[in-house]
Amino acid sequence: MHHSLDLTSVSYTYPDGRQALHSVSLYLAPGERVALIGPNGAGKSTLLLTLNGTLAFDGEIKVCGLAVNRENLPVVRAAVGLLFEDPDDQLFSPTVWEEVAFGPLHMGWPRADISSKVGEALAAVGMSGHEKRVPHDLSQGEKKRVAIASVLVMDPEILALDDPTGGLDPRARRELGELLTEMPQTMLIATHDMRLVRDLTTRSVVLNGGRVVAEGLTAELLRDRELLETNGLEQPEGWAD
């Protein structure tokens, strides 16, 4: 039950009436890494935002066995670490240290604990020593890593990542991919980066127009060229039949 993610018939309609998600059902077993792929506008980001209750959805979501509703929000938000698409939206504090400490501070942790946890989180992403730096001066790759640290510091059980390698140069992409590979959490990764999908995930879910159109082992899905292209995706090299 722990570290699992269970979505049942999740739907979401925007305030202006557009329906973004149509009855999406999904299950992630503990420790599983699943890719969420699909064209732009498919609803991937929207789906991730429902996981921690940012968007009010219809249907049911269970995070580690706990239903996502108003009462459980604080616990859910600690359990689900959400990484946003644009790190500049996520790094809103004046310094790296304050950014990583934001979550623990608002959770009311004792001061001594916070300092050590922040240090651990930064070390985990290879950003130790950068505590006093200003977000604006960081490179895209560094921003992503600090954002991950700011999420990791809360000891989440599930990570929901929105386009983690977007905007990164090849080396930063590789480093981030390696970092993610070493992390034990259950992961749902919305991405266009097919190489990351191939290297990191065991299962993939194809989302298009707010609906799940295909689901299965990554290895199998990536071989289906027609499926990929119908859904606005590209087959990574070396996977053609």
Binding site: R77, V80, Q90, F102, H106
Partner: protein, 247 residues
Amino acid sequence: MNEPGIDPGAAWVATLAFVVGVALLPDGGWSGWLAAYGVLLLAALALRLSMVRLLARSLLALPFVVAVAAIPFTTPGEVAGQLPWGWTFSHAGLVKAGSVLARAWLSIQAFVILMVAYPLTDLLTGLERLGLPGLLVNTIGFAYRYLNLIRQEAERMLRARQARAAGKGPAGGKTWFELASTGGLLGSLFLRSLDRSERVYDAMLARGYQGNGPTWRQLRWTGRDLLLVLTALGGLILCWWQGRGWV
């Protein structure tokens, strides 16, 4: 940058006391202001700051000197001289203009020392500990964080627009084109900033934000801080007496 070792809140109080003291010295109190500058030099030395750097930064703020030039012509007093076209200026006016300059410059220097000695976030924390409302301090913090980002967005948009404005001179209806496109540019920038603030809010929620947050709100002054503040206040009182003619 070295750690000053003094609580930023205490530094604020000392700086404010300095600025007020300098303002309380009467017009023409040159010796007082010279002493004040000596105090600043001592502070800069104690904090191991480069005087050259401080001077350079304070010069940036000097354009107001132009305004000061009008003072000798508008202050009543014994006439000291006359310009070729008849305007007269007074002794009192010259003294006053010099005094305004001295006060302004000393204040700027003190401010610069504060800004160079501490990172802005420490200064904001200091202000909050002194009692400035948390919401305001946090707003300033956000503004500081997103300053450069939004300015860069604006510059990019301006450059993109300029790249497309092939023709130079306005021809007929084109006069309003520039205004309309500026409206669009600023409007777009506003919308992007607005949307960004929504996403930032979502990011804050995702990390447990539940309304105005806790911060390190404790006023903890060491003996050293207290000594500095008391000395500054003492200096302030001295200046006040000097201004009243009691010293």
